[in-house]
Symmetry: C2
Subunit: 353 residues, 2 copies
């Protein structure tokens, strides 16, 4: 029998695990073999190491495409090893580092390649990757934002949908996220980091500076609205999970509450609450958003309540061009219908940019 926590993770995240790139056979093995959440990290960590070895073997014989995907499977295995592992920072950090390391090995082998870049904000070095569609461009480009525990390495399959539709992709880790957490915990001014990335993209000849958008998932949906409202250079705002504020802090799952504290540098959720509720709130900027906006939210989301959609709707300018896509059966970020909603968002980005 699986313990309750393991059952919960597998149930809630089943669609996401595979939708974001874990091979289904591995998820099925985890379902069959694991009995307890305690075994989770080691299981995926071992898979990550196995993928790296397989990738090295393929690399040695010139199978770059295959090697690239295998390094990336390894990166995802390490990513999901450490995800939700809030209770043990030392172990979690190892998983993050392995995830990033394997993604860096995958990056030049991906098709199209992921080009690493850094931008500097307040002396901090913000890491990201840019992927360009075929052809000289200049191409439209979407900046992709992760959430509480999704990071720049995890958006590859969504990037592929954008790239197939001619839209370049640019993913980075901001305050409180992935690789960058060691330099900065969650901050109330995420939008400054997005704007620094826009500066970088404007300097990139293959990117059309007047066709840049932003899209964020889960907590990233909050960052996306904040970023687009504060920077008029962003011409499209994708909200993959509406997130207006943390007024529902008391209703967070225990795991999510611990996670928010973790990325904010607090030991306990209770200590973090005031900082988080002050730092995560769109009231001051939502009324200024003035680019076309797409809001996707699962009607059956049990992590972010649907009431957040209503708060966002009430705060946006009434004349704003917004597509509201709220499938009643969708769970958190509609991961349980990823094959339907993700192409829709990619099409909207291509149409809008």
């Amino acid at each position: 029998m699986q313990d309750e926590k393991l059952r919960q993770v597998l149930r809630i995240h089943a669609g996401r695990l595979v939708g974001d790139g874990l091979p289904l056979p591995d998820v099925q093995t985890a379902e069959r073999a694991l009995k307890s959440w305690d075994e989770w990290f080691d299981f995926w960590s071992r898979r990550g190491a196995e993928y790296e070895q397989l990738a090295d073997e393929e690399l040695a014989v010139g199978h770059d495409l295959t090697a690239g995907r295998l390094f990336w499977f390894g990166s995802m295995a390490h990513h999901y090893a450490q995800f939700l592992w809030w209770h043990d920072a030392a172990v979690k950090t190892v998983g993050q580092e392995e995830k990033s390391r394997l993604y860096r090995r995958a990056a030049p082998l991906l098709q199209p390649a992921a080009r690493p870049f850094e931008v500097v904000v307040d002396g901090l070095r913000v890491p990201g990757f840019l992927r360009l569609p075929p052809g000289p461009g200049p191409h439209p480009c979407v900046i992709l934002l992760g959430g509480l525990e999704s990071t720049k390495e995890e958006s590859l399959l969504f990037e592929d949908l954008c790239l197939d539709r001619g839209v370049a992709t640019c993913a980075f880790d901001g305050p409180g996220q992935g690789d960058f957490l060691g330099q900065s915990v969650l901050r109330p001014d995420f939008e400054r980091f997005t704007s620094a990335v826009v500066d970088f993209l404007e300097s990139e000849p293959a990117v059309a500076g007047d066709r840049i958008g932003v899209l964020g998932r889960s907590l990233g949906g909050y960052y996306a609205v904040r970023s687009a409202a504060c920077d008029e250079r962003l011409r499209a705002c994708g909200v993959w999970g509406a997130f207006f504020d943390l007024s529902f802090f008391e209703d967070l799952s225990p795991s999510a509450a611990v996670g928010f504290a973790y990325v904010s540098g607090f030991a306990q959720p209770a200590d973090a609450r005031e900082f988080l509720q002050r730092s995560i709130d769109l009231s001051d900027v939502a009324g200024r958003l003035n680019c076309p906006t797409y809001v996707l939210h699962g009607g059956a989301d049990d992590l972010i309540p649907v009431s957040q959609v209503e708060k966002l709707r009430a705060a946006l300018p009434p004349e704003l061009d917004v597509v509201w896509d709220i499938p009643p059966e969708g769970n958190h970020c509609c991961h349980n219908m990823h094959h339907l909603v993700r192409p829709r968002m990619a099409d909207w980005l291509a149409d809008t940019l």
Copy 2:
């Protein structure tokens, strides 16, 4: 509680269903919602119709890529509705026709497009699709063969792996298969149909006539060896599941035995046995195979016994260049590790052709 037959299908085919393209959320819904195998056809048939409607909506607004994949999801839903549905030919035929119809709608929208073609053998019109990598070519090309109940519409994801590696793909239905079953049941001379397709490919300017290979899965692994042994123009032979003869007829699952009878035009397996054992046997040609060969077979295949690998090994010329890839944990066609073995086969084809 699910009935035994439904549990069996879901268990045996879980890796294949998703590996061949059914969206995981649909398979999860089937696992949750269905109680009995009797409900299988209607469930998937309904999904197929829903995908067609979604595809039409996207097509109407110019989202061709998305529409193409949705038509193809619909095609796969109809395909898996009718698969193993040997007991009711009228219903099964409706599923086949819907599968083919939706694939034809998907074909021009796929990237790259699937171009329909027909070749004529003994006055019979053999249907197939050709997909070409970008660029003028001439490109190497692999002919893909289905098996007992896999057809030309089902190889799309494997085709994508080949195309990403610069190899064109050509899939057709031969005797006893898919669209072509209405014209011809299973015949002992499948190789003549493959050769007619080689003739067609030689006339196609975008295909390099001296760089054509063949790869077949399951029963198609039998057809592939037979075809390559009988036609020296085939320069590579991929065996995705070794299949030497039907000496194991008595050990077939009841469903597979009925299936073999069905595609051969017999009402009962007992009536079909003599014809099938005479018609499916590589003894007469295996010794003539002389192109590089790749044999993938799951060490834990419970449909085709591993002893078929040994029979094949013993019959091939000792000096033949053969890669034997027999993962001990692999099930039928290694569908439970599709993300690992399929890129390996595609790399081998690209290297060899």
